[in-house]
């Protein structure tokens, strides 16, 4: 036990330092457990491991004993921008990788009640472009790091229906860097393009609940809801550099912003056979909450003005299908697909967060190493639709191509 606790603490420390990227549409992440991921994320009606805390808290009552689950997803994205439209110059996003972690602990009281706590990263974003690139006046680097701490309880009314509810505390940070255009050059002929670095810690709160039904033999139905979280900076600060003679007009200083983590609901239906199960889910993402991100300076000058990044997102959805097959007591094979519809209208699809509809192809394996210890691994290939923008509000027309490889692993310990 002591050993497990120490592990959990170490893990939390990693979580605090981790960087995240958006690999659900928008700046959402949907990878919160290797078992679920390897089945296309279709898990709301079968949330039968400790990651139920994320997927459907009602499932927690069906997870027996004391469970610890630790893992994460290694995300390896690759994005190019070709433009300005209709030109063929290709710009490559800096190669970066991310490892959003997940950690779950649950305990079943064997009287219908179960309780748990989860730490995971439902929203995050990281893009970094070369300093001298075509879009440097739009973005060179943005980094939204967050993790949620999600204490949860559930109650099962026999085998037919269970409910669960949780409280969500999100904390993290926001970072944004870019160059600002000016009409000026200095006396020695160098263009004056002040560089801004904005950074701040941020937090927000929300809640979640879920319900799971087993109306007929072998069939389960799940529904879960996660509320919107307003993620607000608490101590944001801006600094300008390379401002040359304009430095006096760009003092930087306190800056604040806020962005929503969208509400989500999942509905799914699963069929469980003797040694297999399959599921289909619909996930609704309330992206219409993101209209614009306002950047507000405490101190303003002629040049240092408030600004906003308009998003004007629409609500969207993810379709998920997947299943698993128990080869024997030790090995389980899994596969799934997902289709993730992006929420961003053409005119606001920018290199800040280049988005497009994606297709996720998932496979995975589960290994019961002992009766108490299991390893789940997942692999997802996530191609984005090639997206050509010709109506950019930033005058940034061109073609985006993105693919990502996501490798997940979770270690589960059960008592």
């Amino acid at each position: 036990m002591a050993c497990v606790n120490k592990k959990a603490l170490t893990f939390l420390a990693i979580a605090l330092m981790s960087v995240s990227t958006a690999f659900g549409s928008g700046y959402q992440l949907n990878e919160h457990g290797a078992r679920a991921v390897s089945m296309g994320g279709a898990f709301v009606a079968r949330a039968w491991d400790a990651s139920a805390i994320y997927f459907n808290p009602a499932g927690l009552s069906y997870v027996k004993g004391f469970n610890v689950m630790l893992g994460g997803t290694l995300i390896l994205p690759s994005t190019t921008f070709t433009g300005p439209y209709p030109d063929n110059t290709e710009w490559k996003m800096n190669s970066i990788s991310f490892f959003p972690p997940n950690a779950y602990v649950s305990y079943n009281f064997n009287n219908g009640f179960a309780a748990g706590i989860g730490v995971f990263t439902p929203d995050g974003l990281g893009t970094e472009w070369p300093q001298n690139w075509l879009g440097r006046f739009i973005i060179t680097k943005i980094n939204l790091q967050s993790f949620n701490i999600n204490p949860t309880i559930s109650y099962a009314f026999g085998d037919f229906i269970s409910i669960g509810v949780g409280f969500d505390y999100a904390l993290g940070s926001v970072l944004l860097e870019k160059y600002n255009p000016t009409p000026f050059r200095d006396a020695s002929g160098n263009p004056i393009t002040p560089f801004i670095h904005m950074q701040g810690d941020a937090n927000g709160t929300g809640y979640n609940f879920g319900i799971m039904l087993k109306p007929i033999k072998n069939v389960s139905v799940g529904f879960s809801y996660r509320s919107k979280i307003d993620f607000k900076t608490t101590n944001g600060n801006a600094t300008f550099s390379q401002a040359g003679v304009l430095a006096g007009l760009l003092p930087g200083g306190a800056v604040s912003t806020s962005l929503p983590f969208p509400e989500n609901w999942y509905a799914g239906i699963a069929y469980k056979g003797e040694n297999f199960s399959v599921e289909a889910d619909y996930q609704h993402v309330g992206w219409s909450a993101y209209k614009q991100l306002n950047i507000t300076f405490a101190h303003q000058t002629t040049l240092q003005q408030n600004s906003s990044i308009i998003g004007d997102y629409s609500d969207t959805y993810v379709l998920r299908v997947g299943g698993e097959y128990n080869l024997n007591k030790m090995w389980t094979l899994r596969a799934g697909v997902l289709y993730d519809k992006n929420p961003i209208p053409d005119q606001y699809d920018t290199p800040i967060l280049p988005d497009a509809d994606r297709l996720g192809l998932n496979v995975g394996v589960g290994v019961n190493v002992t009766n108490h210890f299991a390893v789940d691994a997942s692999y997802m290939f996530l191609p984005f639709k090639q997206r050509t923008i010709t109506t950019s509000a930033y005058g940034f027309d061109g073609t985006y191509n993105t693919t990502a490889n996501l490798i997940g692993i979770d270690l589960s310990y059960r008592l």
Partner: protein, 472 residues
């Protein structure tokens, strides 16, 4: 039981495969969006003809770091031309380059009139860029001495700098043809009306009168110039541009015709009527008679050259602290004079458009008039760079209020490229404006709140007089 299960698994598997196969088409990367191509245009010898706009003149001077970004140089670069020779002049150039000395104001000054020297004068053939600052249409075919134009009344040194010797060709058109061009751009005629307009209608192109070049004369000269070019380079393709509206240019639109509080930049209101107070100016009535009276704030343009006088209280009624003396005619392009200006521009553009339309296989037309008017209304954003026609802050026009910045010239290059692409089935890549360096010279000795621009007439004078010189 076993078979049911297998069927379900198989069905699921088949479903997955079908979904993946159906979706994959959309997810395959097609790397080439549009391959670059010069279409039916042969760029092996590109020559550009025109005036200061073609030369790459910026902020009252012609200098190397601006010429590098002239629109013909940008077009050449985008089309893959490796040898595009320009009459480069070392910084800060010739003409008296304007610069911001103090952002508080801002106060604008200038470099010496002869601050640089020609760098490329040893070239033994004509330059590819034959744009001559201050040239009017007639200069394109005028075979009189280049050196003579450096003396009175024109005092324009650029004919000698750009054209050098009659041995290379005794006119810009002759020099262009001497290069046996395969492609020619022509943007000429703006100075035929700008001399009149920038002088508030006091100086004409056709001496001794004070009007813009007569439209019939312009039409005849334009036809003669283009016919000479077409005959001399029978296999060449051409792109020609028409003349933008003065109402799109900050030299004319920056200074309002009402009294402005310099501290707040807001109009001073008449306490009785609550209305802004018009400046007192010399202007014309509808029949063309000059009189002193209140400006028509809706229609009259007060020129950028008026700022010194306004600062001295001229044009400002005594009731609000001015001298009550009317602003001289040379600082005002009133509605009557705007009518004459517009009529000339419309006439010139009719001539340019008609000539281009009669040779669609040879000539692409850039409708600069329409593009600049649209730009004046909406501005433009290019890769996160906002451009408007506001003086200084707009980023498009330089400190003389007439000539574009390097980024403005890149925009011009792009409208030429778009016209070429359309007419000749080409796909020349446009210039990415965010990669063009900003170019308004800021050499300040002080900072502060950006207020009313303080542009001294002495700084603008060389640029303006160049446009106002009579040629014939």
């Amino acid at each position: 039981m076993k078979s049911i299960r297998s069927n379900i698994v198989s069905a699921l598997a088949v479903g997955l495969v079908a979904f993946v196969v159906a979706s994959c088409g959309d997810f395959k990367k097609s790397s080439v969006v549009n391959p670059p191509s010069n279409g039916s245009v042969d760029f092996s010898m590109y020559v550009s003809l025109g005036n200061s706009l073609t030369a790459g003149y910026q902020g009252g001077a012609l200098y190397e770091s601006a010429q590098e970004y002239s629109y013909p140089a940008e077009i050449a670069k985008q089309a893959g031309v490796t040898q595009f020779e320009q009459p480069l002049i070392s910084d800060p150039g010739i003409g008296g380059r304007m610069k911001i000395l103090n952002l508080s104001g801002p106060v604008i000054g200038e470099d010496p009139a002869i601050g640089g020297a020609p760098l490329n004068s040893g070239l033994t053939r004509p330059y590819n860029n034959l744009g001559v600052p201050g040239a009017v249409l007639y200069d394109m075919i005028d075979t009189s001495s280049f050196a003579a134009k450096a003396g009175p009344p024109r005092n324009n040194p650029f004919f000698q700098i750009v054209l050098r010797s009659a041995a290379l060709g005794n006119s810009p058109v002759a020099q262009a043809l001497a290069l046996h061009p395969t492609f020619v751009s022509v943007w000429i005629g703006a100075n035929d009306v700008l001399g009149y307009a920038t002088s508030g209608g006091t100086v004409g192109t056709l001496g001794p009168g004070t009007g813009p070049t007569n439209v019939a004369t312009f039409t005849a000269l334009y036809d003669q110039m283009m016919s000479t070019l077409l005959a001399g380079a029978p296999n060449a393709k051409f792109v020609v541009a028409n003349i933008p509206d003065v109402a799109a240019v900050p030299f004319f639109t920056t200074v309002p015709a009402v009294v402005v509080n310099p501290a707040t930049q807001q109009p001073v209101l008449n306490p009785q009527t609550g209305q802004p107070i018009p400046l007192i100016v010399y202007r014309h009535d509808a029949s063309g008679n000059l009189y002193a009276g209140p400006a028509d704030p809706q229609h009259d343009f007060i020129l950028l050259t008026a700022l010194d006088s306004l600062e001295a209280g001229v044009g400002i009624p005594t009731a609000v602290g001015g001298t009550g003396r009317p602003l001289p005619n040379q600082f005002v392009l009133d509605s009557y004079e705007i009518g004459i200006t517009e009529q000339a521009i419309q006439g010139y553009n009719q001539a340019i458009g008609a000539f281009a339309a009669s040779h669609p296989d040879k000539i692409a037309l850039v409708d600069a008039y329409a593009v600049f008017n649209q730009f004046a209304k909406t501005g433009d954003v290019e890769q996160g760079v906002d451009l408007t026609n506001s003086y200084i802050t707009g980023g498009f026009f330089g400190l003389d209020g007439i000539h574009p910045t390097s980024q403005g010239y890149a925009f011009v290059a792009n409208i030429f490229i778009q016209a070429i692409n359309k007419q000749f089935g080409a796909n020349i890549p446009i210039v990415p404006i965010s990669l063009v360096p900003s170019s308004i010279v800021l050499a300040p000795t002080g900072l502060g709140k950006v207020l009313w621009p303080d542009v001294h007439y002495s700084a603008l004078k060389p640029a303006i007089e160049l446009l106002q010189a009579r040629s014939y």
